[in-house]
């Protein structure tokens, strides 16, 4: 019989790894500040292409990431070696490089924050590490079967499943100590429908934090089938999109990407202060713009990591600061930026708990969590019924935005004409190309159908793809369609 590692052995292993944390702490006594993250991740992955299981993967690994400030300069080091000799070697390298920066080094200071002690876990009814790989395969096969039931001509079908349980211990030299365990499940799919020599492609991500029951609640199988049917209809029956100034109703999916790209990103204070200039870019927003109008008074956009079972969920960030809801736009006014302790110090405020690192091997930087437009009272149907002539955009494919977050494009995929308060014909690829202030000033009405859609947000160098959601309800805009 194969030897099964018992829970006690796993715990003993974790405790043994924790002992290296004490050792590193003792080595960094001269630092002005230090923080240590011990991270252990375990998970499965499945790649299915056109119904064929190409490969299954699993992984179980741990590492340690340390950030410190010495003589004002920030040093970071990481390793998955847990021997004293290798840790010593890595610390010595780091201290040596840091000591040679001299006058070129920025003198970094952090805002003063409360010392936190906490231990939290995301509850799972169906534990992801308790479910057999066979069941996970059957689940994605079910999604694929549902797609096939759409009776469309599918020329490519790809589904990628991954889950991961991340156990983390954080401590800093000020006395904060936080332990957490968060399971996450992520399903990404992409397919293409062909008719009459034309193709349309759809890709989307569905992801949660929590047990397997949380991804089942997403009913991906039903959604993917409907999407394929809609694309087929779009190719066969789709008419040219009307152009010019129109009333446009965008679904929660489009609202979400708009909130993420043109509110969340430009409100990241590290971009505003230029730290990400050569990577993800800077921002059109300047510190002095707090309190100035950016959109219609009905627009409220928040970033909230505390939404239970959301993909962007956490309760304490990777600087040990307690997470909370941030109102980025309040009644159309720029209200708050996303901060870590470095930017909070520079802008004379407090961190709002927005620093995250995707693994032990990278530094924490400012990230969004769950960024969404707050809902209002209208029903989506009412927005449609009140529209004499306009369009409804249900989902999108191509999108992008410039590195200051001003010039953006969203190209509709599944989209329809609205005539006399009713959705009529499908339309082909309506394109919104607009600046950020114009976009948020064009919002006429906001519905009540809040949805959060999962995404993996890219930032940092090396690239850190971090779990987030982006969302909101349907919105009616008065904008120009190209």
């Amino acid at each position: 019989m194969p030897k099964i590692q018992t829970k006690t052995e796993k715990e003993a292993d974790w405790e043994e790894k924790k002992s290296i944390v004490d050792y590193i702490s003792s080595k960094l006594k001269k630092a002005d500040y230090y923080e240590i993250r011990l991270v252990e991740s375990k998970g499965d992955s499945i790649l299915m292409n056109n119904g064929n299981i190409e490969a299954v993967g699993f992984g179980d690994g741990s590492g340690i990431g340390v950030r410190y400030i010495l003589n004002g300069c920030v040093g970071f080091f990481s390793t998955n070696f847990f021997s004293k000799e290798k840790v010593d070697e890595t610390i010595e390298r780091s201290l040596k490089i840091n000591s040679k920066i001299g006058e070129l080094g920025k003198k970094t200071k952090f805002s003063k924050e409360k010392i936190e002690k906490a231990d939290y876990t995301v509850k799972e009814k169906k534990r992801i590490d308790g479910i057999d790989i066979k069941e996970k395969i059957e689940y994605i096969k079910g999604i694929d079967s549902s797609l096939l039931e759409s009776q469309t001509k599918l020329i490519s079908r790809m589904i990628y499943y991954s889950d991961e349980k991340t156990k983390k211990m954080y401590l800093n030299s000020e006395g904060s100590r936080i332990e957490s365990e968060i399971p996450r499940i992520d399903i990404y799919y992409r397919f293409a429908v062909s008719e009459n020599g034309s193709t349309l492609q759809r890709y989307w991500q569905n992801a949660v934090s929590g047990g397997f029951e949380k991804i089942e609640e997403k009913h991906i199988d039903e959604k993917i089938k409907k999407e394929a049917i809609a694309l087929k209809r779009n190719i066969i029956e789709g008419v040219q999109s009307p152009k010019g100034m129109l009333e446009v109703i965008v679904s929660p999916e489009i609202t979400g990407i708009m909130a993420h790209e043109s509110v969340g990103h430009p409100y990241e204070a590290d971009r505003i202060l230029g730290r990400e200039s050569a990577q993800a870019g800077e921002s059109f927003v300047e510190p002095t713009m707090l309190g100035s109008r950016i959109g219609n008074t009905i627009v409220n956009v928040v970033d909230d990591p505390t939404v239970e079972f959301s993909y962007g969920f956490y309760l304490y960030d990777d600087e040990g600061v307690k997470a909370r809801r941030k109102y980025l736009i309040k009644n159309g006014i720029i209200n708050e930026f996303l901060h870590n302790r470095e930017t909070a110090y520079e802008l004379n405020t407090h961190s709002n708990g927005s620093a995250r690192a995707v693994s032990s091997h990278v530094e924490p930087i400012i990230r969004m969590s769950n960024t969404f437009v707050l809902p209002m009272d209208y029903k989506e149907e009412e927005l449609i019924q009140e529209t004499k002539f306009g369009i409804y955009i249900k989902n999108f494919t191509e999108w992008n935005i410039d590195d200051k977050r001003l010039n953006q494009k969203y190209k509709g995929n599944e989209a329809y004409l609205i005539e006399n308060g009713e959705i009529t014909k499908p339309i082909r690829q309506p394109s919104i190309e607009i600046t950020t202030p114009a976009l948020w000033s064009s919002v006429i009405e906001i519905a009540d159908n809040l949805e959060l859609h999962a995404a993996t947000c890219g930032k940092g160098e090396p690239m850190q793809g971090i779990p987030v959601t982006m969302g909101g309800p349907s919105m009616k805009l008065k904008i120009r369609i190209n």
Partner: protein, 449 residues
């Protein structure tokens, strides 16, 4: 505390894993292992904001059991963990359906032409401050600019062992430098360099050029939507070339998602456009002696004078396509190494003179596809871009978007520059070596409102 680990010990453990896993009646096994040592110094606003060092080790396992594929990476090399992982591989495989597409891995042994590596690169991490300072100083030579970027060095000791008698040991080094220079609110320039040896890095010159772009692009204006000729610098072009390289993987073609499906032997670009995959370049970012199956790598033309010559193959895709591997494994999906756009004979000045109405684009980002099957995409020029009229640069421009297809980019390549640059960047994960090109009649749009 755990036993100390060096490269010889990792090799020893890798051989042990192979021995243990072979006892389990498996078919094909590929083991990759190694020790990595990385460094990054990041700067922003003319100051170093972080130094970053890392060290790590791993053993990756790819295993086929009755055409059931299981992959994992061991990052904790305790004896009991290795044993548990091997048992888990067998357990996982018992629950999998057959991978109908899998046709096995290459049969060794092989002989490899060795690539040199930069033995002095490790010392360079301590010189990061000096190198960055030189670059910032030259970016500020003409006017005061605000500069940000990174300097990275890495060394990895790698070992490959397969159940089909391939065995390879190598050392790879990498250097990467990036500097973005900002002059006024809307004027900036960006230059990068990625290679295997430090000696080719001229951080001063990169800083100088980024600074010049920043200063020259001040007071940008808006332009009208329409078709323009575009001179694309190596940095933005590399993003598009990497997408073309990705689409040339036989696996991508088989999935149905590549715009190159059904186009083997057909014209996909102009006579001027030749794309080569060259893994054995002495001083390039993604050079490699062997692929993921241990097959020696080789140079090949993917697109020759506009005609698609080959897809990229591993052993499994090659068998399905009734051909031989091109040495581009990816154990599931083949991939390119160093993508090289064959240089032409023109200087940028000559291309500018040829343009009646056009734009010189020096950087771009956020390339997104509307449809990978048709290759339709848009990408946003970033940093300095200049409007050209009747062969002369008139002024800098902002807020523009390029809308095209991958095939249109290749087919509309009218002139190819003579000076290649080695690009690895925030947007280009791999390695692209390319000169500038002149593209005819590309659709440009801008936001309204």
């Amino acid at each position: 505390m755990m036993k100390d680990i060096d490269f010889q010990y990792v090799i020893h453990l890798t051989e042990k894993v192979m021995k243990q896993i072979k006892q389990k009646n498996v078919d094909d096994v590929v083991l990759h292992s190694g020790i990595e040592r990385n460094h990054q110094t990041k700067f922003a606003n003319n100051k170093i904001v972080k130094t970053d060092v890392s060290s790590g080790y791993y053993i990756s396992i790819f295993c086929s059991i009755n055409k059931r594929i299981v992959e994992t990476t061991i990052k904790d090399l305790k004896e009991e963990n290795i044993e548990k992982t091997i048992n888990d591989i067998i357990r996982y495989s018992q629950h999998l359906p057959e991978n109908k597409n899998f046709e096995g891995i290459a049969n060794g042994p092989f002989r490899y032409k060795k690539l040199k590596y930069d033995k002095k690169l490790i010392d360079a991490e301590e010189k990061a401050g000096e190198i960055i300072e030189e670059s910032i100083n030259s970016a500020c030579e003409k006017k005061e600019t605000r500069n940000s970027g990174v300097f990275e060095t890495s060394l990895s000791e790698n070992y490959l062992l397969t159940s089909n008698n391939a065995e390879a040991e190598s050392i790879d080094t990498n250097v990467y430098f990036s500097i973005r220079s900002i002059y006024e609110k809307d004027s900036s320039g960006h230059k990068v360099y990625g290679a295997r040896f430090l000696k080719g890095l001229d951080a001063e010159e990169l800083g100088r050029k980024a600074g010049e772009f920043a200063i020259d692009s001040k007071d940008p204006r808006e332009i009208e939507n329409g078709e323009y000729d575009i001179i694309m610098e190596p940095l933005p072009l590399a993003i598009i070339i990497e997408s073309i390289g990705h689409a040339s993987s036989a696996f991508e073609v088989e999935t149905g998602e590549s715009f190159l499906r059904g186009k083997l032997g057909k014209r996909v670009g102009s006579e001027e456009f030749t794309l080569i995959d060259d893994p054995m370049l002495e001083d390039a970012y993604d050079s490699s002696e062997c692929d993921a199956e241990g097959v020696p790598t080789k140079t090949k033309e993917i697109i020759s004078k506009g005609v698609l010559k080959t897809y990229l193959h591993n052993t499994s895709t090659a068998k399905r396509w009734n051909t031989v591997t091109t040495g581009n494994a990816g154990l599931i999906s083949p991939h390119p190494w160093n993508l090289v756009v064959k240089k032409g004979k023109y200087k940028t000045e000559k291309m500018i003179k040829e343009i009646k109405r056009g734009i010189w684009v020096t950087n771009a980002w956020y390339m997104r596809f509307h449809n990978t099957l048709t290759g339709e995409f848009s990408i946003i020029p970033r940093d300095a871009a200049f409007y050209i009229e009747d062969g002369e640069i008139k002024y800098s421009v902002k807020n523009i978007r390029i809308n095209s297809t991958l095939e249109e980019i290749m087919k509309n390549t009218a002139m190819v520059g003579k000076d290649q640059e080695k690009i690895h960047s925030w947007e280009v994960e791999g390695s692209v070596i390319t000169p500038s090109v002149l593209l005819k009649n590309i659709k440009i749009t801008r936001p309204v409102g």
